[in-house]
Amino acid sequence: MEKEAATPALRFETHETWNYARRSTLTLPHGPCRTPMFMPVGTQGAMKGITSAQMVELDVDLMLSNTYWMNFRPGPDVVKELGGLHGLMSWPKNILTDSGGFQMVSLLDLSTVTEEGVTFKSPVNGEMTLLTPEESISIQNRLGADIIMALDDVIPSVTTGPRVLEAQERTIRWLDRCYAAHSRPHDQNLFAIVQGGLDLDLRRKCVDAFLQRDDHIPGYAIGGLSGGEEKDIFWRVVANTCAMLPPGKPRYVMGVGYPVDIVVCVAVGADMFDCVYPCRTARFGTALADVPGGVVQLRSDKFTNDQTVIDKNCKCFICKGGMTRSRLHQVACQEGGGELITYHNIAYMMNLTARLRAAITNGTFPQFVISFMKTIFPRRVDVPDWICNALAYAKISSNLLEEHYPANEQLVIDDSVFMTMVKEAGSGHIKSPYHVKDRNIHGFQKMRNVVKEGEEEGEEVPKEKTGGKKAKMEME
């Protein structure tokens, strides 16, 4: 046991490390959480299609809920009267509530930000409501989660110019207001969120300001990412911020859910991750698996007669029980199909983080990461540059391509590849045919039209495109 930190409602013990990667136990009021960990998102107090009992069976230590939406329905006072979120959901393990800051981006058209707070137009009834740092904390105190988040000034990650500085500075000022308003430090942990856009200098200044307040900050989050930024910048921001944060406290990268991203972020020192991606993509018929590209798009006709399971190493009852891709193709578009694939995807994410923890413990972390990357990117041409750069930084492989991929690799597209290779004009670079994105996008970006719907290959296009439906989509 190398590092330990404790506050009234949190104890963080790091058991083993491998360079920046670390395996720790985060003990919260509702039990221990094993990190690195993935935290599934139940925005409105429910994981879509998965019951609380199933979440326990899936070995989930902590799940998320959202302050903004729970404030609308059923309201914090109702939740408090029902015994907090734990009582409402009958969820015996830990909960984290987001502050509502994310909705500044996801409901951009419906919100305005001032020094006092953020004013939202309710997507439910059209009323204007002001969410101040004090109000956000008051709501979260009543919701009763084990980890609550400070309200931050969130801007789209691709934003540049003075707005980034303004948001970073405001986030620090709001943090002080949040701590002043926090009424339950004995049983709720208020995490600070590092902002600063993609500017490493601004991130450093933000962390420096937080470190001056470190005594009463139980944990740190890295926010403002997963908004369409280039992956090569994304991992550098995570890595640099993790390096600046105190080693004895948990580090939570907000909104990260692609398995490859999680592996990279763990390698550079992050502990906690959340995203709706595994559940949302399941409802579109996409299963996560250790296969080239990392996903099995079950609605594709190519799986009509595929007798293999989604992922032969998965321990969920679907894969272990021999349900074939052929069978899942049949239900992927049906009632029941979404629930089954969601169950598998959460099981996959839990299994992935368990394997990461085991690899750190066993001292086989670099071997695991390389093996994982070679599974997802089986050929030299498939490997994105940012992966190579990140793994070099993490001291896993100084040159992934040279060390682990044959130099004279043949560019053969086999039958399993269903996307066309595209040679980018002029660059001579061949784009991978696999379904791994160059940018982090988790839904909200599409609504802001920075990336148009369907622009990225393989990106699910939401069925509901009208403005009035935005909020409904955002709810998960």
Partner: protein
Amino acid sequence: MTSLAQMPFQFTYSTVPGSCIRSGLVKTATSEVPTPALIVPMTKGVIPHVTYDIQLKLPESKMLGLLYTDLCDLDYDRIMRSQNKTAREFLFPEIIAQQPNSLFLRIRDPSTTNIVGPANGKQTAVQGGTGKVRIDSTSFLSTIFRTQPCIASLPCDEPIVEEPVNDPEAEKKALKRIRKSVMQTIGYGDQIIEMIKNPKLPELLNGALTPSDRLPALFSVLEGGWSIDSREHAVKHVNRLCDLSDAIKGTVVSGLDQVKPENISAVLAPTKVLKSDLVRVVSVLGTPDSIVTCILNGMDLFDTSYPIQLAECGYGLVFPLLTDALYAALQVGVPSYPIPFVINFSLPQFQLQNTPFVTTAKQLFEESAELLQDCTCPACTAPTGASTAYIHHLINTHEMNAVVLSSIHNLHHYQAFFTHLRAKIAENKPDLPTILLAYSQLLQKARTSQEIVMNKLGKEYKNFE
């Protein structure tokens, strides 16, 4: 006698003296199902909203209803054959395939009107997921040989024919259509029996029949709508079909959803002369009071999706089960005090009701509290059991878990309803028929005293009663 090898199937039963009430045991190759029992509805081989790990916690799910078109859509019956798997092996993960359960394949979808015209003497047509599917004897037999369900009900023609009121001309027209559907259905049965007796069957099925295939137990369909004459006519032909082939092991009494609740007993009266060793399945009809009425008239299995559909409409079942306490109360007569039937989760009064569903019902209906039994379903059981307030919240926020949790509860409640009924039938007390009649009246009173809107969550259902 057909020369085809048949799947193991056995039905043993006993009748309560002085009544038509039966209790029995259906033995198939893969399960033993005590009757009366619920046939658990499935869509594409999944209980709607209930994943397989939860299905495992509903041990009464021993007879699973599968829709014919779910196998035919996209040629899945051929895919199963190409993978050398039966429907059970293909559809289910090991945790379910290893459980004792049997597949009951049927044409009629209990949750909707899927039989579409025009039907003719050789084929019927049903609405499948990818369009209209025409079923003739060749396609039907090919599918059941490829997929090997334990039981397959024969094709039928089942039009929706409302009973006209004070309109002799309309009644004449309706009766004509009902009679036609009876004759069409009988015709399909005759064609299939003739075909399975044909020594050239393998050639006729063009390779769909392999030497290892066995013929599932066939259940003929008894149509006739609300016409007692037509029912009598259909019963004669079902008995004749049984004489023609020992492959007929049961009959599906269909079209009862078009019968007024008060007329169910009268319409079922002709079934008393059905061959007694046939398993009698009631299709579609699903309210608990009508089920008890059907049990009083000698019915054995019930193919309905009523509990799931109630969940989809935002209701949780809480009606009293036939416990010792209720049996004793019914010996005095049907209680005059209000009895709960469902919890309407969307009512604002439940916003702060942080109790299990049955406890909520006990608080609302204090007089009948002692008749209600606490629920032990996976959705209600602590530490992760859902409360009324939670489901209310999930419905308000349009979260799919509202339907997931209510479906689990409702299905479990229905299975418990059958378990208690079987236990009381097994006790075989002399006043059982009287008590069951009173129980049916109590359930009908409870159901009709609460407003149940069957389109609450965006779906509209018809034809339950």
